[in-house]
């Protein structure tokens, strides 16, 4: 049977597409998912972000960090075109909790445990690839800076001599750098975090690694030891456990930077959770909208991503949605064939409408035509193919993927429709 004949068809296999497929299966549907290739999800840092800290928060309330819900509410107030603003329910703590718990549990079942999400919580602390401290709504368990108290923590940051781009900045909170000469040969090649991860998935190599790191940290009284994000795709927890046992410090990984190993882990867990749920997956195929329209009557979820995923593109000056050729919107207006200079501004900071470009949807996530009508009753969009927000500057990429993906899957399965 062709994937096109499945009860529900999901186009795109990033976080949004997978969340949609899984929630539709949960509702008892048979789902097929078509995925061309890994997209932005596979390059992400390992953190799930819901919304950024509100501007000026720390001036107004220096005593505490905002809760995730407060962050989201501020974001919705500041940008009314944001998908969170369109879906009324996304503002409800219970709904956020439901969507996140569902997705994070599936990832755990797929072999990748994550920190608990609680919208009434400020999120947990993690260290970025450049050595800065930040919050995340959730992240892979290996990234969580547990029991962290800024006043008492003594942080040590491990720097590997032959690791490219791993933990490069000065350590956070006045911590110390721990230089670790591994691999130790002088002319060993420099390796990307993802390549080192491959080495550390071998037990022998990871033993040696642990010994060298422990020797470098011993007796220095660190309360927390932060490693670059290189601790294997499969043996992460074991390596951390061994390190914690030997050093008596809380050990964690920094979030991923370029060539992100956590991104690869996430990709891997997505694949496994689709398998477990019995979703028919076809990878390596670029689905063509015309074919879909011709063959199908049933529900479709379009989760084809932004520029990295390939769901939205600008080709020789003209912006389009790539699967169905739908018009592109930035949350305020449609973007036609304007020169790049008009879609962006001189300041790198923006705001640039180019980076908010995507589909315009209604509160049931149905893409709208220029006359504000849904294109089709059972045609839904999820994730970064939806416009009106900047996944990066708005610090909400995977948050939107989780919330809209979860909802799109349920809508496609006939739930939630008002």
């Amino acid at each position: 049977m062709s994937v096109l004949d499945a009860e529900i068809l999901v186009i795109g296999g990033g976080m949004a597409g997978v969340a949609a497929a899984l929630s539709a299966v949960e509702a008892g549907r048979r789902v097929a998912l078509v995925k061309r290739a890994p997209g932005a999800t596979s390059m992400s840092t390992g953190a799930f972000d819901l919304a950024p800290h509100p501007r000026g928060w720390h001036l107004a309330k220096p005593d505490r960090d905002p809760t995730q819900l407060e962050c989201l509410e501020a974001l919705v107030r500041a940008s009314p075109g944001h998908p969170y603003a369109l879906i009324g329910r996304a503002n409800e703590a219970e709904y956020l909790q439901e969507a996140f718990s569902f997705v994070l549990e599936k990832l755990e079942a797929g072999g990748l445990p994550h920190a608990n999400f609680d919208p009434r919580d400020p999120g947990h602390h993690a260290v970025t690839s450049t050595g800065r401290l930040r919050r995340a709504a959730s992240s892979q368990a290996s990234h969580v800076l547990r029991d962290f108290n800024p006043d008492r923590a003594r942080i040590g940051v491990v720097r590997l001599a032959r690791c490219l781009g791993g933990l490069t900045g000065p350590p956070p909170m006045g911590g110390n750098v721990i230089e670790v000469d591994w691999p130790s040969s002088k002319n060993a090649p420099f390796l990307l975090p993802a390549d080192i991860g491959k080495l550390l998935d071998e037990e022998g190599e990871s033993r040696r690694f642990v010994e060298i790191v422990v020797a470098a940290c011993k007796g220095r009284g660190f309360s927390h030891i932060v490693l670059p994000p290189v601790l294997g795709v499969f043996r992460t927890r074991e390596i951390l456990n061994e390190l914690e046992e030997a050093t008596r410090a809380v050990c964690c990984e920094a979030l991923g930077g370029e060539a992100s190993l956590p991104g690869i882990r996430l990709e891997n867990a997505l694949r496994r959770s689709l398998e477990r749920a019995g979703v028919t997956v076809e990878t390596g195929r670029t689905l063509d909208g015309a074919e879909v329209l011709e063959r199908r009557g049933g529900p479709v979820v379009l989760a084809s991503g932004r520029f990295i995923g390939g769901g939205v593109a600008r080709r020789q000056g003209s912006m389009t949605e790539t699967v169905f050729g739908l018009p592109i919107h930035d949350g305020e207006s449609y973007l036609d064939d304007q020169p790049a200079e008009m879609l962006s501004c001189r300041s790198y900071r923006g705001p640039h409408s180019l980076f908010r470009a995507g589909l315009r949807v209604d509160d049931l996530l149905r893409p709208l035509d220029m006359g504000n009508r849904p294109l089709h009753e059972t045609f839904f969009a999820a994730g970064s193919v939806i416009g009106g927000y900047d996944p990066h500057v708005d610090g909400c990429g995977l948050g939107v993927a989780v919330v809209t993906g979860y909802r799109a899957g349920r809508l496609a399965a006939g739930l939630e429709a008002s």
Binding site: S44, H53, T128, R132, F307, I308, S347, F355, C396
Partner: protein
């Protein structure tokens, strides 16, 4: 009181500073940003004789051929050879015979050019059959009629400015970058006696006394002169280049745009450069940006001969203003490239001189003439110039062998060879830094092959005042990743070396990101947009600039 104050740190300003300092004059050089930020760094980097100028102005070609021979001797490390092909396309009216005639004509035209080749160690040009062309250069469109070869040389023009300035400093000159000259001082007799300048980073105002002031501000020079009531006549021309993510070939190609203008595609390190446009420009040279239309024009013209360019990714653009001599009424690209040194005694500013026109390739000789004129204005007669025999910093031969250095210091070989290209004889000293700090063996920028040691070397010894200056010292951020990999690391090394607190360090990173964004903005299309999303993803998720918090919150 110094002898000479030079305003402008392009190739001419730094060239004049070096020559004057080597002749024993006391010199101050003032540059409003950094060395090479004007036309010099944004040029095509060719120290060629300029085939395109042959028909209109053979003198320029002769002079710059001879002088580029000297440049090869004094800065051998910075020079790279580029063999060019000039493909002959079908489709001239009248069919094949005319094609051949045109080919013959082209060859004659290059035959003239060949007379100058021995002056700069080039190879003789040859006529190639279509089969030969495709063997050398498979990307050329299939139906060409043949091609003619010619030999050219390129140079890292940023570094050419930098090492001229450093050499001037070795001979006692004082360098002020990020300092703008705001006013020229006069004595009662109206004679120019110095300048008032403002340090843009500290805000300090400097009053500098000098016996002569040289206006080497390139495209800015008409404005600069006008403010002193003097005149510099110029017809400024904006030129835009487009950089592709890949090397299309090891050879350069000369071709024509739709409007008949000559254009080229050259391999540069791991990329290809397409240039250039040439349009009258009377705006502020400091606020220059390429436009989407200019990018489209260049891509269209280049893909006419090299169809695969359509599939390449435009990773950035850059733009400069040619300080061309004023001659009215002709088409921009046939304007004279010759130069002139103006003594403003005749128009009411005695003690001030300006340089107009010229080419990068002839900077040394023009600087020599300029210093001769300065000595004359100061009441003496020209003393002897040695800039053509004395190597520039790093230019002492034999140059070190990069592979041997890489073995010795445990650095990756490719990056080490880029280091030798940029630093020449100083490469070993830079690598010595890894003895105290082995972490500096790591490549920081993998697109352009920059080692930690090279960055630190530049920061310590090459008059780097801002993080963004490293863009000019070692091509930081020039590659396809748009600085995604290197900017933060370079920023923290810079902050460490200068003892900057977090806030100031972030500010430096912002200035650098802004500069790189200016290059990329006109080219955001196709696959480059995905790259841009990746770059933004990396920057935003790595922690906001400003406060600690959550991604994006400082933006």
């Amino acid at each position: 009181m110094v002898d000479l104050i030079i305003v402008g740190g392009g190739v001419n300003g730094t060239g004049i500073a070096r020559d004057a300092a080597m002749r024993g004059l006391s010199v101050v050089l003032i540059e409003r940003e950094d060395f090479g930020v004007g036309a010099s760094g944004n040029s095509s980097w060719m120290v060629h004789g300029g085939v395109r100028y042959l028909l209109t102005d053979p003198k320029v070609t002769r002079v710059s051929c001879r002088d580029s021979g000297y440049i090869q001797k004094i800065a051998p490390h910075l020079i790279f050879r580029i063999p060019f092909l000039m493909p002959i396309l079908p489709g001239m009216p009248g069919g094949r015979l005319v094609d051949l005639a045109y080919a013959y004509g082209t060859e004659c035209f290059l035959g003239v050019y060949d007379r100058y080749q021995p002056l700069k160690n080039g190879k003789q040009s040859t006529r190639l059959s279509p089969e030969e062309v495709h063997r050398l250069y498979p990307a050329v469109r299939p139906d060409i009629v043949g091609a003619v070869t010619l030999d050219e040389y390129g140079i890292d023009a940023y570094r050419l400015c930098v090492i001229n300035a450093l050499s001037a400093a070795e001979h006692g000159a004082k360098l002020h970058t990020w300092t703008v000259v705001e006013k020229v001082l006069r004595d009662e007799a109206g004679h120019v006696r110095g300048v008032i300048a403002r340090d843009r980073l500290t805000g300090d105002v400097l009053e500098l006394k000098g016996r002569a002031v040289f206006n080497a501000t390139g495209a800015w020079s008409p404005r600069f002169a006008r403010r002193q009531g003097a005149r510099v006549e110029m017809r400024p021309g904006k030129g835009v280049h487009v950089v592709l993510d890949r090397k299309i070939s090891n050879y350069g190609v000369i071709t024509k745009a739709v409007d008949g203008r000559d254009m080229f595609v050259i391999p540069l390190e791991t990329s290809s450069v397409i240039g250039t446009t040439d349009d009258d420009f009377y705006g502020d040279p400091g606020a220059l940006e390429a436009t989407h239309d200019e990018v489209a024009y260049l891509i269209q013209a280049a893909s006419h001969v090299l169809p695969s360019i359509e599939r390449a990714r435009v990773i950035r653009t850059y733009a400069g203003v040619r300080p061309t001599l004023h001659t009215y009424g002709i088409d921009e690209s046939s304007l004279s490239r010759d130069h002139r040194i103006v003594d403003h005694a005749s128009d009411g500013a005695p003690g001030m001189l300006s340089m107009v026109g010229g080419k990068l390739a002839a900077y040394r000789m023009m600087s020599e003439e300029a210093v001769d004129a300065v000595e004359t204005v100061m009441g003496g007669s020209p003393t002897s110039c040695r800039t053509h025999v004395q190597p520039l910093p790093g230019g002492t031969t034999p140059l070190p062998n990069p592979i041997a250095l890489a073995e010795e210091y445990g650095t990756p070989p490719w990056e080490t060879s880029r280091l030798v290209h940029r630093q020449g004889a100083n490469a070993r000293d830079a690598l010595e830094l890894t003895r105290d700090e082995p972490a500096l063996r790591a490549p920081i920028c993998r697109c352009e092959g920059v080692l930690g040691a090279e960055l630190v070397w530049c920061i310590r010894f090459e008059h780097v005042r801002r993080l963004v200056d490293l863009v000019r010292r070692c091509r930081l951020g020039h590659g396809p990743c748009g600085g995604a990999r290197c900017v933060r690391v370079a920023g923290s090394l810079f902050a460490r070396e200068r003892g900057l607190e977090q806030k100031k360090a972030e500010r430096e990173i912002d200035v650098l990101l802004q500069e790189l964004w200016k290059w990329r903005r006109p080219a955001l299309d196709g696959a480059q947009l995905a790259q841009e999303e990746l770059t933004r993803g990396l920057f935003c998720s790595a922690g906001p600039t400003g406060s600690d918090g959550q991604p994006g919150s400082g933006a």
